[in-house]
Symmetry: none
Amino acid sequence: MPTPKAASSRTPDATRRSERSRRAIYDAALALVAEVGYARTTVEGIASRAGVGKQTIYRWWPSKSAVLLDAYLDLTGQAGPEAQAGPEAQAGPEGGEERDEPAEPAGLPDTGDLAADLKAVLRATVDELDDPRFEAPTRALTAEGVIDPELGARFVERLLEPQLRLYVRRLAAARDAGLLRPDADLRVAVELLVGPLTHRWLMRTRPLTHAYADELVDHVLRGIAPR
Amino acid sequence: MPTPKAASSRTPDATRRSERSRRAIYDAALALVAEVGYARTTVEGIASRAGVGKQTIYRWWPSKSAVLLDAYLDLTGQAGPEAQAGPEAQAGPEGGEERDEPAEPAGLPDTGDLAADLKAVLRATVDELDDPRFEAPTRALTAEGVIDPELGARFVERLLEPQLRLYVRRLAAARDAGLLRPDADLRVAVELLVGPLTHRWLMRTRPLTHAYADELVDHVLRGIAPR
Amino acid sequence: MPTPKAASSRTPDATRRSERSRRAIYDAALALVAEVGYARTTVEGIASRAGVGKQTIYRWWPSKSAVLLDAYLDLTGQAGPEAQAGPEAQAGPEGGEERDEPAEPAGLPDTGDLAADLKAVLRATVDELDDPRFEAPTRALTAEGVIDPELGARFVERLLEPQLRLYVRRLAAARDAGLLRPDADLRVAVELLVGPLTHRWLMRTRPLTHAYADELVDHVLRGIAPR
Amino acid sequence: MPTPKAASSRTPDATRRSERSRRAIYDAALALVAEVGYARTTVEGIASRAGVGKQTIYRWWPSKSAVLLDAYLDLTGQAGPEAQAGPEAQAGPEGGEERDEPAEPAGLPDTGDLAADLKAVLRATVDELDDPRFEAPTRALTAEGVIDPELGARFVERLLEPQLRLYVRRLAAARDAGLLRPDADLRVAVELLVGPLTHRWLMRTRPLTHAYADELVDHVLRGIAPR
DNA sequence: ACATAATCGAGACGGTACGTCAGGTCTTTTT
DNA sequence: AAAAAGACCTGACGTACCGTCTCGATTATGT
């Protein structure tokens, strides 16, 4: 099964790829996951809903989860620079549906008030996790990544780590300004913010609230405050 | 004929249930998940490996994940008090493998040294999460629970929450002894311990180590130390 | 499969048999065949409808078709003298539904007018074959007998041959009276009457009518008339 | 979703049909019926023996009996003009069923000696019915047709009636030559030939012999001879 | 401008597994 | 001891999708 087979159909010509089909596949995949859930979303269903042949999906993606990951990256604006040649070139002209966020994660706000900034960001995360538009595919991908290390790695590399790095950067700025202990392990601090939040969301142990986000920030900052 | 009797085909008579079959199903399910992974574990495969008719599985469980959950509960000793009549035979004759933990999680150690106790427990958790015997089914159930709220709720209620409560109890003892801030939110503290650990394990962002466990404990205790 | 297995459950004690159950099974079997057809009649369905355990059926009959054959024999009054001990003894008391025909085929009418007698009998047969009460089980048993030689033999021996013998007897009386050729093969003559009728009914090539019955009689008698 | 498209999953594209699979299915079906009998022949068994997916059978036939009928028609040379490619071009758009008889059986011999000709044909029929290659599927289809009017109708229309018409035609030729009564009902005469023969075969009341065939012919011709 | 080659929509194919139904056996409890 | 009940293993059902494999019918260059 994993044997590549080296046939003629290997490595299709990406320059000839139909942009319309790709878009339609993304839209169909996200819509189906949102509507019927990940498990009952099928490649056949995506193809049929996208008005596309099944082979067009299998030509470009190895699995349902890979399609969904790309669709999700596209949705969140992290448009995958690996899977396609250079979509940004003609992304302007035909436009398609306009996406909210344009491209690279912008960097965390820095008003000087670290606690406030972190709370704002975590609250936004809470809101996003509660947004049904994001919830279903995020859960689907996370769950898939928990089981499939391959996919999990891509998910982490492309989505999670970039975000965590932003936190680290913001904390580093605060530390350099003398607002945090010089020896604080910022990476662990970030995980102390994100880990519990994610845990609650994944496990549904308690409702995700702004208050909880605030509490986390207060708790963590107390742990890495100077002295 | 479409509604034959409601009583007979709905809830089968649990007193007539074959203990041998249940055991065989648990063992087969866990073995298969460990060997080929959750996705490629099938109900048919479990039945065949357990030497059991498919219907015997469908008679007692609604889905593959439900089987696995019960198998896992049985494995960890939280033997489901709902699925069977009671400890009627108490496994005497045919025995099967004896399970290490009998019933309720034993309670966290309390040597008086809170940090040491927590570290010991978290390190043990790290070891368990690295044990391949537990890893596959735990990941499988966690992932399934992320997507299926029903299953997730059972998973949390039967496994996660009881454990978290043990932490809270241990922390409460420390707080009552004046070792922690009186106003500390112990639940959040526990989540600050468990959340990041789980996050690393699920996402595979960094290796899970004893050092990390220690770091978490130190960090959290610093946040809820008196004063 | 055909291996009898010689277990303890062989040859149950017929004297202890429940007459009530047997009746209920016959009624349920005939009703189901009439209602849903033979193929969709199941042993389980018969048992459930008769308010009887499945084993009670398997204890006394080897197969669905055997049940139906006995039920049919019971219906037509040829009450099987082999399958049960002596039902006629106490058949009086509880009675159940009264059957139209009492027992042995009474013998064909003999008014002296052979053609008229034969026509009357054949017309009656036509009517019976059109009676929905008889049609479904008769078709079912005939079809089963076509494929299963065992069952077919019992069907022929218990139902068909006795009837054919009556025809032969009537024809023999006519021949002895000089109304037929002395050398006529009466058995073949009977088959010339019954064969085409059965053929039409089984194959549904043409409607079964009294006129057709008459035509057959006329045709056949013409073939074996004296000279 | 319950009504997906009506067009696609209803009538599959017959031009894309795999001829190899169809042949393999026919062969497997006939072989299995001959080997294990009709009742123990399963769709799954046919598929597996033919090296074909089950769906490939269900795509083109509604039931086991339908497969067998087509296989049998193919075997006897009445190759079904509806099931495979061929005159699809001018069948019109969706083309109702305007089936006349396409591949008519060759016609009965006409040596001028009617009795001899009929005997030859009936003897050949006897031989065919005794040929184990034909016996099992013929019995299976006949029995199925006895119970399932739909299938029975197709069986009669495609196999039985064309044959009977040949007899009628031969008899008509003889009648026109003055060898039979002008007013003889030829259809009934044919049934008097075929009915008893079929009856013996189906019911297994007596062995099927050439002598019996001859007797039938003599008997019937005596009934419709001139005068 | 056009041939040429790849992608595309479509969907048939050999498969695997699904969840259900029933067959026939066995066991438990009731009569 | 037979009967009602029904759990059990088995095996087939008919369906849904999998991933592969043709098919014409568009594109979409690249000489």
